[in-house]
């Protein structure tokens, strides 16, 4: 009886939605580092994480006068800690701080428009490229680790009903990879090789699916995912190593601003239609 109750409890157990992201990224980091030493070092990772959390706390307090939930900063700190590659510590700290600060500086209709880590990484590549690079190596040397992470990631993303973004992006990526290989005469396998690396796993599972910086409708999100892959293709034709980050940096905020304006326009139309219904003489 007790066992059945326990099984029932487990079946009904739901991770609070706000914790799914932090738990997933923690699992990825711990598994990857213990298996393959994916981090440059725990101390650099800890610095990125600590700076992200502190920056978020301080800036939020300055702006709103209140303390806030730090799960978003936790994810940004984790992402910066994994993605930044530098023998020095300060790029980890600076990337985390810039990522978080961008949320309070670049806002439209009271919401931030860039995925924080995407912003931090791109800005760091512009202002400090001689001191850092971005993670671009493999998860070890076998296929299983990569497949397990994709599988777990997709399951979790499905739980929060954002899998369609990943699916459209990946299908588009493969299609554009084929197109690039036809256009350049290069090998298709070489074109798709990057998506088998961890940089793309973080990009697909955490950046383009960031709920705060995705548009409001399912079709819109799929269109944006497609456009990111399209813009990325052009960056790749221009031989930009970090093409996906640049593509999201450009497409993400434009899409979000258009979406906000579109939603406002729709709301106005609904409002005016409502007024007409309530006041037919007007």
């Amino acid at each position: 009886m007790a066992t059945l109750q326990l099984i029932e409890r487990i079946k009904n157990f739901k991770v609070p939605p706000g914790l799914i992201g932090p738990l997933l990224i923690t699992a990825v980091v711990v598994a990857a580092h213990l298996s393959f030493g994916i981090l440059d070092g725990w101390e650099k990772f800890a610095v990125a994480l600590g700076v992200a959390v502190v920056t978020e706390s301080v800036l939020h307090k300055i702006v709103t006068g209140k303390w806030r939930n730090l799960s978003s900063a936790y994810i940004s700190g984790n992402s910066a800690g994994i993605l930044v590659r530098s023998p020095m510590i300060w790029p980890f700290a600076l990337c985390a701080a810039i990522s978080i600060a961008s949320k309070y500086v670049f806002r439209f209709r009271d919401t931030h428009i860039w995925n924080p880590t995407n912003f931090g990484i791109v800005v760091m590549l512009i202002i400090a490229s001689d001191s850092m690079a971005v993670l671009s190596i493999q998860w070890g040397s076998n296929m299983w680790a990569m497949l397990v992470i994709w599988l777990v990631g997709f399951l979790v993303i499905s739980k929060v009903k954002l899998f369609h973004i990943c699916a459209v992006y990946m299908i588009s990526f493969f299609a554009f990879a084929w197109l690039r290989s036809v256009y350049t005469g290069g090998l298709f396998l070489a074109e798709v090789a990057p998506i088998t690396g961890p940089m793309y796993q973080l990009f697909v599972l955490f950046m383009i699916t960031d709920p705060k910086t995705t548009v409001s409708t399912k079709n819109g999100r799929m269109l944006v995912a497609f456009l990111i892959a399209l813009v990325e293709m052009f960056f790749r034709l221009g031989e930009a190593v970090y093409a996906p980050f640049y593509a999201l940096f450009i497409v993400g905020p434009i899409a979000l601003i258009i979406d906000k304006l579109w939603q406002e326009r729709k709301a106005r139309q609904i409002d005016s239609a409502g007024v007409k219904v309530n006041n037919p003489s007007r």
């Binding site: 702006v63 850092m132 190596i137 040397s141 076998n142 070489a190 090789a193 690396g197």
Partner: protein, 600 residues
């Protein structure tokens, strides 16, 4: 101004401050740097030395040509055949003058043995000595050489390693060399990029360590499969085996690699060095591995080697190890280890490692900490040889770091294609067919070698341009030697698919020095592995007799110490490989002292 606007301004200012940090750091670096265009007088005054390119004037016109491998690899030939230019220093005829040997790699191109004529000129005598025509189809392409008196005859013998058959040449009283490979019992094929002499069991005979790069089953000149690339960029497990050949004392060697624990891994070893890093009396081996972590093999009483890279602190973060150099960087009478890696702005920032000993974690395993960043020797470029050498005789060892991978058509770049393949899965990266063609594109080329000057207070400063050492060829191997008998360390830089460069080193005359030419009696006659500790007023510093180090190189056998403006030293302690310890005092400066191992 509303509170909201004020807060917005504060946050924006914080953001702008963050953005400005890298610019501020660069500006600060510019202001505090001491760069000036090459000028001998100013360089001697400020840095204590000046390098003069004398390659042509001393009669050296050697140009390295890379190996042409199987045509299935021709689309990426420059990166496959990216090594093979090497230099080693030897006094092969015992005339007291350092000569040097350069390897070539293209079939039909000769290696060169430049004999020091004693008048500031050099003559290539490789052909008449029988060590020139060694790049032969069926035998392989030369990758490097090392010198050691394996038969204790009093003359230095030559070991040549190839992508192919390794070769041993016995020195016949300085009058020629006899090929003794078969009778020595060496294997038929190793794709080797490093080898060192060491007496691992201290029996008085030099043993031979050879590091494998490509898998030994791969014949790069006749490929059976294109699946011969590394199976991972950072965790590769399909490199060549490493070997230890034990000298039997009768001209033969026996492969003891497996029994001493050197066949544990298949990392892609690019460089090796051996020295007694834990004062056990036995030489330990340090390996720089490409596509993986570096390794320290602690020698357990000459019976086996224990891989302690992880415990010692070196073996966790995988990088692209290219070179190993061992030196007492802070004159603390202990050895630090310098390993070069790859750094390319915005693409790959591994940073070089300077491992300094911090403590002993068990009876014979030292623990190291990487302080390359603190000391300013971290960010190089695409590194190869990183060599410790006291260039200005001030008593602090400096660093010469060779940089540059493939310089081809200017303003082109292969990095994008490289980055996308090495970021891919094993199934993609392992097959050379999946690697995009290089099409004459430059790949981390035209990079300038670094000369980092040790200030003795914990920092190195880069001075290459100011001291005349501004070289942007694809440098691989670097050796130092007192080529002109002036007591200063001149430099020989071997460049891939390019001409060799020789720099005469002019040192501030007030800076004194002392040198030691050791000859073993109970120990191996070359005294390879001996540690020399120089006791000065205020500190003690150590060096060792090397059987090869850095990347494919070996510097002069005589151990040289700069002592700055000091007029005397307290004493010298020599720890011979046999275990004999000799203390000598009252030695004159500004000369090389010949010291024969005490037999009592």
């Amino acid at each position: 101004m509303t509170k909201e606007v004020r807060n917005k301004i504060i946050v924006t200012l914080i953001f702008l401050f963050l953005i400005s940090i890298p610019f501020g750091m660069k500006k600060y670096e510019e202001i505090t740097s001491d760069h000036f265009d090459a000028d001998m007088e100013m360089a001697l005054e400020r840095h204590g030395f000046f390098l003069e390119d004398v390659t042509e004037s001393i009669g050296v016109n050697f140009v390295h040509r890379r190996a042409t491998v199987d045509e299935k690899l021709h689309h990426i030939l420059p990166q496959i055949s990216s090594v093979g230019a090497s230099v080693t220093v030897v006094d092969f005829n015992n005339d007291g003058l350092p000569d040097f040997y350069l390897t070539n790699s293209e079939f039909g191109e000769n290696n060169a043995l430049y004999m020091n004529m004693g008048d500031g000129t050099f003559v290539d005598v490789a052909e008449e000595m029988g060590v020139a025509d060694l790049n032969i189809p069926g035998y392989g392409a030369s990758m490097g050489s090392i010198w050691g008196d394996y038969n204790n005859s009093g003359y230095e013998d030559l070991f040549l390693y190839r992508w192919g058959k390794p070769e041993l040449f016995r020195n016949e009283n300085g009058e020629g060399f006899t090929r003794v490979t078969e009778e020595a019992g060496l294997p038929d094929h190793i794709n080797a990029n490093t080898a060192i002499w060491l007496d691992y069991n201290r029996n008085g005979y030099l043993d031979l360590f050879i590091g494998g790069y490509y898998h030994e089953d791969v014949n790069l000149f006749d490929l059976s499969s294109t699946q011969m690339m590394p199976d991972s960029y950072e965790y590769a497990t399909n490199g060549g085996l490493n070997y230890l050949f034990e000298n039997q004392g009768d001209g033969t060697f026996v492969d003891v690699s497996e029994q001493v624990g050197l066949h544990e891994s298949r990392r892609w070893t690019l460089a090796a060095a051996a020295a007694d890093i834990n004062d056990s009396g036995y030489p330990d081996i340090i390996l720089a591995n490409d596509y993986g972590v570096d390794e320290i093999f602690i020698n357990r009483n000459g019976e086996y080697f224990l891989n302690t890279g992880h415990e010692a602190g070196l073996g966790f973060v995988p990088k692209s190890g290219m070179s190993v150099s061992i030196g007492d960087v802070m004159n603390q009478n202990s050895f630090a280890i310098y390993i070069t890696n790859i750094s390319e702005a915005g693409v790959l920032m591994q940073g070089n490692n300077l491992w300094v000993p911090t403590r002993q974690i068990s009876e014979d395993i030292p623990r190291f900490r990487n302080i390359a960043g603190n000391m300013g020797v971290e960010i190089g470029d695409w590194g190869y040889a990183g060599k410790f050498v006291d260039l200005n005789n001030n008593g602090n060892i400096d660093l010469y770091v060779a940089n540059g991978y493939v310089s081809d058509e200017p303003d082109t770049d292969y990095w994008y294609d490289y980055a996308r393949v090495v970021g891919g899965n094993r199934a993609v990266i392992i097959d050379a067919n999946n690697w995009p063609a290089m099409n004459k594109r430059t790949f981390s080329g035209y990079q300038t070698n670094k000369i980092w000057l040790n200030d003795g207070a914990g920092r190195f400063r880069e001075v290459a341009r100011s001291v005349g050492g501004d070289l942007n060829l694809d440098s691989r191997s670097v050796a130092y030697a007192d080529l002109f008998g002036t007591g200063s360390m001149d430099l020989i830089v071997a460049n891939q698919h390019q001409p060799v460069k020789i720099y005469r080193n002019h040192v501030k005359p007030e800076h004194n020095w002392i040198g030691f030419k050791l000859e073993g009696t109970k120990s191996n006659r070359s005294a390879i592995g001996a540690t020399i500790i120089l006791h000065r007023e205020g500190n003690s510093t150590r060096k060792y007799v090397s059987g090869g180090d850095a990347f494919s190189s070996q510097s002069q056998r005589a151990v040289h110490f700069g002592v700055g403006e000091e007029q005397s030293i307290r004493s010298v302690e020599i720890r011979w490989p046999s275990g004999t310890v000799q203390n000598i005092d009252g030695l004159e400066l500004k000369q090389y002292h010949k010291i024969i191992e005490a037999t009592e």
